[in-house]
Amino acid sequence: MDALEVRNLHVAYDRKAVLEQVDMTIPKESLTAIVGPNGAGKSTLIKAVLGMLKRSSGEISILGKPYNPKNRIVGYVPQRGSVDWDFPTNALDVILMGRYGHIGWFKRPSKQDIAMAKEALQKLGMEEYADRQIRQLSGGQQQRVFLARALVQDAEVYFMDEPFVGVDAKTEKAIIDLLRELKQKGKTVIVVHHDLQTVPEYFDHTLLLNRTVIANGPTEEVFTKELLQKTYGGTLAFFTAPGEQRSG
């Protein structure tokens, strides 16, 4: 059984096709990178899969079942820029939002929910920032808050949209440690990733995307110069494949 199966997915904005004929599967217990140039439709793919964008067509199954958010088997980390950080709330409160799907209507978070949120905060080295208004956190800290929020969702498959963008070295390490721990626990993590240099080191499965699937498979098979060239076209000027000397 695969973590994610996408069949015949098409997405269009204003009748302009963004994703065409996406067919792919992503294996369970993998750390998967979704890689492609700007405008390739990486975020669109995640959002269309999770039903945040309208699909023109396509069937999605997650862990063998048609996707339904009410099953709460999917955790989500949106792009950091997608929310208003001036919102009147603090770090712990944002993490608690990850429990809202579990808490149920009209109820307030229980002691157990709060304990979970605090544990997640600690895991990401943020315990001293629990009461901090979220605007007063650094970019890396904000990203860690988002990860902690996904963690308390207690999901099976995680989708993360560019979690490594604009973060400091400490945060990058905290994130990758967390991803590895999730994999070890049998979870699947699917990450939109922009830094080609770190793909082979961080991810065991890679999906190359440019409006449609260019290649999809174990990183060592897919992450080749030819396939990357095919994905990025002429824009891949400064990349050197692993083990190769950079020239010019």
Binding site: L50, P88, Y100
Partner: protein, 302 residues
């Protein structure tokens, strides 16, 4: 004047009712207004308020007398129509949202004024009291009007209390809300509808022109005092309540003064105080924080 207000408040049941209902109205608009402000829908509130006028007039023309509940249903209908039109224009044309709001607001208000003029020129039209809806006249409210307004305002406060957590997530991060299994579309529609209802119940006391101010000024003021949404909502409700009470009392005892402007002037006073003294982002707090930082730097010899 203060004495006069006290004796009126203590001895006249009518005043007590009017004050109680404007207080509830103030709380409801402070609370709903906080959500609207964070959702960046302040201007929508203004458009809805102006768009309520033609609805009131059409409802009056149909039934031929002033029955508040029916007038408010008319106001809700045109208010909702206006929000729908704004969404439709922004979604299907290249017209930007601010222009769409501006256009819908003025066109609906213009139609309202045309209808209102026609009504007041009818034989017994000027007895209708419909012109009170422009600037608001809390004192002109009958006992039944007061019950209606207080009941609906109470209901709004209750719903906001029950859905607090869901609305918070919906406004902060709608995609994440959807991923958590919340019925995002339903919650959005419910919020827009309740925002329209808040505006509509307020127009008799505050008036269509100024109702948006009672929605937004308490919310903005509250933001200067806290970084927590729950407290912001409570403080905004409090400021709304004070503004409502002050406006209603002053306009009840001094004949001829419209309630709406008095409410808004009181709220604006609260804003100036919050802007200056607010403990989270007020002017004085900012200046002190800046001075402490500079002195610390000096102390470190940098």
């Amino acid at each position: 004047m203060i004495q006069e207000m006290w004796s009126s408040l203590l001895h006249q049941p009518n005043t007590q009712w009017v004050v109680l209902s404007t207080m509830l109205l103030g709380i409801a608009s402070g609370v709903l207004g906080s959500f609207a402000l964070l959702k960046k829908q302040s201007l929508i509130g203004d458009a809805v308020a102006h768009a309520a006028l033609p609805g009131i007039c059409i409802a009056y023309l149909f039934i031929g007398e002033k029955q508040l509940l029916i007038l408010l249903i008319g106001a809700t209908a045109t208010g909702l129509l206006a929000t729908y039109l704004i969404q439709l224009i922004t979604a299907t044309t290249r017209i930007k949202k601010d222009a769409a709001i501006c256009m819908v607001l003025s066109v609906f208000f213009g139609m309202g004024i045309v209808l209102l003029t026609r009504i007041t020129r009818q034989a017994d039209g000027n007895k209708s009291g419909l012109d009170n809806f422009i600037f608001g006249q809390a004192a002109a409210m009958t006992r039944n009007d007061v019950y209606t307004m207080a009941g609906v305002a109470g209901g709004l406060i209750l719903i906001a209390f029950l859905l607090f957590k869901e609305w918070k997530l919906l406004i902060f991060d709608p995609d994440f809300a959807k991923n958590s299994g919340l019925p995002v579309g339903m919650l959005e529609t419910l919020f827009s509808t309740l925002l329209v209802v808040t505006v509509v119940i307020g127009i008799q006391a505050v008036g269509v022109i100024l109702m948006a101010a009672l929605l937004i000024i308490p919310a903005i003021s509250a933001r200067y005092w806290t970084d927590r949404l729950s407290l912001m909502v409570i403080i905004a409700g409090g400021i709304g309540a004070c503004s409502g009470i002050a406006g209603a009392l002053i306009s009840t005892i001094s004949t001829g003064l419209a309630t709406g402007p008095l409410i808004v002037v009181t709220a604006a006073g609260c804003f100036v105080v919050s802007f200056t003294f607010g403990i989270k982002r007020g002017l004085i707090q900012k200046l002190t924080a800046h001075r402490i930082r500079t002195e610390r730097l000096k102390g470190e010899g940098i």
